[in-house]
Subunit: 338 residues, 2 copies
């Protein structure tokens, strides 16, 4: 297996991506990695790490970098020599089986769509991530690749999420649900109602509507929503988690008594930090494309970024793009066309 | 001041609403409350409480109850004798200045809209709540009264939220923001972009786009969004908070060591529970109507329900409905019609 890592992406660039690549290589003996980025900076960072196998870790030079707040259309036009674009090009040319980037999501989406293209049955790609819950994580999509999705697009998202949950997530017959603002049939907008009909008629294990709180209860395996809604839900959730962790920090550092209490509670606090750490689930998949692209959170540390690499490896093993294409063809053949 | 309390609504009915009414009366010497509901049950619950002033706390009999999962249209048609409907009727007839209910949100919205009506300039009412943040709470609307809102409706929501933040929230020139999935102008759907234009042209203190996480950073005073998005964001946030509190409980009750640590950390844990308690912010306002209606969370305890009552009192003091109507008239007179 060979993957391309956009080594310049994310808030920390090579200091995170190189360390993550090295730890992924150590963990996966059959893996090769191409680090794409500024050769000088990458060599320099690599020099700080002893003992890596230069036949398994190569550097592909790329002189441009996509900025975190650059417009996707501008990046697409003007950043053809960027580490992001060249990572995707390596997937297109077959020199890598997946690309992983912590860079600008919109630019990554635009470049991946432009270079790799979607399968003919699939109108739009979607971003899917496994979000942590009380039990098993839930695959939620779309998390922001699209702002206005038709019911047939939402139907495709459901199929793509189900493939990911079944294979990478190891859930046989994954339960697929549609995000709505009420469990009753009467609620929701027209698009949600139409998608509900399509899903009811399909061979998917569709369980109906869920609400926002169900993202975190592990009660279903896949939750489908419009990218606008999914992105807001994701960011709102991150916001609450960050607020609560800040409040906890405040409460435990107020004075010497509370600091003492925090020392006494180190064990459970560490466990809590670990279980609530979104980095453990880092790595969102761009689904629907003729190639594997995984997006890491921009603020990921090297351990989280390594997790994003391992998500890409699981997708390679399961041949996710081909499976998605086949599954959608099958469902469309046996079902009324959405 | 006189308010009507739907005493049968919510998960706990009179056991919560009666206690909350009594505590609100104790706190507000100029307040009268009408408890609306099953007279027998209310008298029985009241008998458990000594020392209340029967001239300030009266009972209005209502034989029907709106069920928590009843369809709004059905409740509207068949529950004219319900505690919810009769509470709103009291506002309509001027016998009460506000109604407070912990019952079925959709039914409350439908009944309040039908009975009280919106002001002529306002197309649709919206649900607005102050959500907790690291600093001051942020007023977010719409939280689910509507599933598809036009840009002119979203503009009205902005005005209504700003009035609430300025008066009840005591924020001079409240900063109003539009919820989007990116801070850049290019992102977002057409409706969001159109609303952005309307807000830029208005006299509101409009600060542009924010993302989901900004709901909890106290960086703006008012966040405007579509009811579908707002409801999902709200419920997703509640879901994360519930998950994290469950994880914390698990971590601190794992064994005798962690239980001991929890005892040692009682102080900070109590502070955290208090600061993160959404009940402290209970009470969502139905805005845009010709009368004051406040929705309590269905699972509110008596302290939280009493907070919802106090939200209604603040709105009476500030004459929120009239202020909203005037403010929208003013803005429409001085601005291009949205």
């Amino acid at each position: 297996m060979r993957v391309a890592v956009d080594a310049m992406g994310g808030d920390f660039g090579p200091s995170v991506t190189v360390a993550a690549a090295l730890s992924a290589l150590a963990r996966h003996p059959t893996l090769d990695i191409v680090l794409v980025g500024n050769e000088g900076r990458l060599r320099e960072t690599l020099d700080g790490h002893a003992n890596y196998d230069p036949t398994r870790l190569t550097v592909e030079s790329a002189e441009q970098v996509v900025e975190m707040h650059e417009r996707p259309s501008s990046a697409l036009r003007h950043k053809r020599e960027s580490s992001m674009r060249k990572s995707i090009d390596l997937v297109k040319s077959g020199q890598a089986q997946a690309a992983i980037s912590a860079g600008n999501t919109g630019a990554l989406m635009a470049m991946a769509s432009f270079v790799l293209k979607t399968f003919p049955e699939i109108e739009r790609p979607a971003i899917c991530a496994a979000l942590p819950g009380l039990g098993a994580p839930t695959y939620v999509l779309d998390l922001g690749a699209n702002v206005d999705s038709s019911s047939s697009q939402l139907f495709h998202f459901a199929v793509m999420g189900a493939v990911l949950a079944e294979t990478v997530g190891q859930r046989p017959r994954p339960r697929v649900a549609l995000l709505n603002i009420g469990e009753e049939e009467i609620k929701g907008n027209d698009r949600v109602k139409q998608t509900d009909l399509l899903l009811r008629q399909s061979a998917l294990n569709y369980v109906g509507f869920v609400e926002g709180n169900d993202i975190f209860t592990s009660s279903v395996d896949v939750i489908v929503c419009d990218g606008f809604v999914g992105n807001v839900a994701l960011k709102a959730s991150e916001g609450v988690a960050r607020m609560l962790s800040q409040l906890a920090r405040d409460a435990f550092t107020r004075n010497w008594r509370t600091k003492l209490a925090a020392m006494g509670a180190q064990g459970p606090l560490r466990e809590l930090r670990h279980r609530a750490d979104p980095g453990r689930y880092n790595g969102a998949s761009l689904l629907g494309l003729r190639g594997i692209v995984v997006k890491s959170h921009g603020s990921a540390d090297s351990r989280s970024f390594a997790h994003a690499i391992s998500v890409a490896l699981r997708e390679i093993e399961e041949a996710i793009p081909e499976r998605i294409s086949r599954q959608i063809e099958d469902l469309l053949a046996h079902n009324p066309k959405p």
